[in-house]
């Protein structure tokens, strides 16, 4: 495997350092609000810890049970309708902030997952199953059903558009 001997290189060091500088500046000017921001970040981090654990285990399980060729068959160029269906379903059931899912998506992409299917995953995440009762309470059942339907349909259309954009890119090359 290509990634077998990859050394551990940290990603996003510049972003991390920039945010660190912002916090230092914020602490100098308004330490109380800066501390509150730090507390809120810590709360977000604690909340996504279980999701991180799920993503790590899921990535490991996928890599263990599915060979790259099999992954490509399910989500790659030969996946067909099945790939679209799995991406849509995965997007709907995935929980937590999207950035917690980046490592898994990157891993799947390295194994051949098509960009249009990643777009479908991203777009279908707009449907939050645990929050549906709250949405019904605030906006009513007809609104919730219509919005959910259009979100699913829109997710697939976005995938189709991405496919078209990618094909025009390839043609240009």
């Amino acid at each position: 495997m290509k990634s077998k001997d990859k050394p551990l290189t940290f990603r996003g060091k510049h972003l991390f350092l920039t945010v660190l500088c912002l916090y230092i500046l914020f602490f100098l000017f308004n330490s109380q609000s800066a501390f509150l921001a730090l507390q809120k970040s810590a709360t977000v981090f604690t909340k996504i810890l279980p999701i991180i654990a799920v993503v790590i285990i899921l990535t490991a399980l996928l890599n263990f049970f599915l060979q790259p060729k099999q992954m490509a068959r399910h989500l790659g160029h030969e996946s067909g309708i099945r790939g679209w269906f799995w991406s849509l379903l995965a997007g709907v059931v995935s929980h937590g902030p999207i950035y917690a899912w980046y490592p898994l998506l990157e891993n799947l992409r390295e194994h051949g997952m098509k960009d249009e299917l990643i777009v479908v995953f991203f777009a279908s995440r707009a449907i939050k199953i645990p929050l549906i009762p709250i949405m019904i309470d605030y906006f009513g059942l007809p609104f919730t059903l219509l919005l959910s339907f259009y979100m699913l349909f829109g997710a697939l259309l976005q995938g189709v558009c991405m496919q078209w954009l990618q094909s025009t890119k390839v043609q240009q090359i």
């Binding site: 060091k13 970040s41 263990f64 490592p103 990157e106 995440r125 605030y138």
Partner: protein, 149 residues
């Protein structure tokens, strides 16, 4: 036979799990950076500040709703509460639908991380599509609702 050959080549699960944990560890600065930005945003930009930006013009508010939702961060639950309040204040459902949709699909805060992981072209295409579709879905939902009810 091919399957047997594959299974003998398969590394132990502990090794695969370790590799998966290490690749996540490598991404920690990126995740911590995004989470740090979320905390800063939640303190510096209050929901009241966001709600005050709406003008009462359905077309402009739909665009504003998409933009405001796109720069906001936090649990989608907050967008529902805020959206409910906006509807009560007389803001059009077009704008509110766009706002709650872009809250989850667009993300200015995670943009640097998205570029780092998926590349600039993918991020540009995805966010562009998302931006357009948020407004289309908001318009389709509200229009259909008006026709049905």
């Amino acid at each position: 036979m091919q399957p047997n050959k594959q299974s003998t080549q398969r590394p132990p699960f502990s090794k695969v799990l370790q590799k998966s944990s290490l690749s996540f560890l490598a991404m920690m600065p990126l995740l911590l950076g995004v989470i740090g930005l979320v905390g800063l945003f939640q303190v510096l930009v209050t929901p009241e500040m966001l709600a005050s930006l709406f003008q009462g013009n359905p077309l402009l508010d739909t665009l504003l709703g998409t933009l405001i939702g796109g720069i906001s961060a936090g649990n989608p639950f907050i967008s529902y509460i805020l959206g409910g309040e906006l509807v009560e204040q007389g803001i059009s459902l077009y704008a509110v639908s766009a706002f709650i949709l872009s809250w989850v699909t667009l993300g200015l805060i995670q943009l640097p991380a998205e570029v780092e992981i998926f590349g600039g072209r993918f991020t540009l295409y995805r966010n562009m599509l998302s931006f357009v579709f948020v407004m289309l879905i908001a318009a389709a939902t509200t229009f259909s609702l008006q026709v049905i009810l």
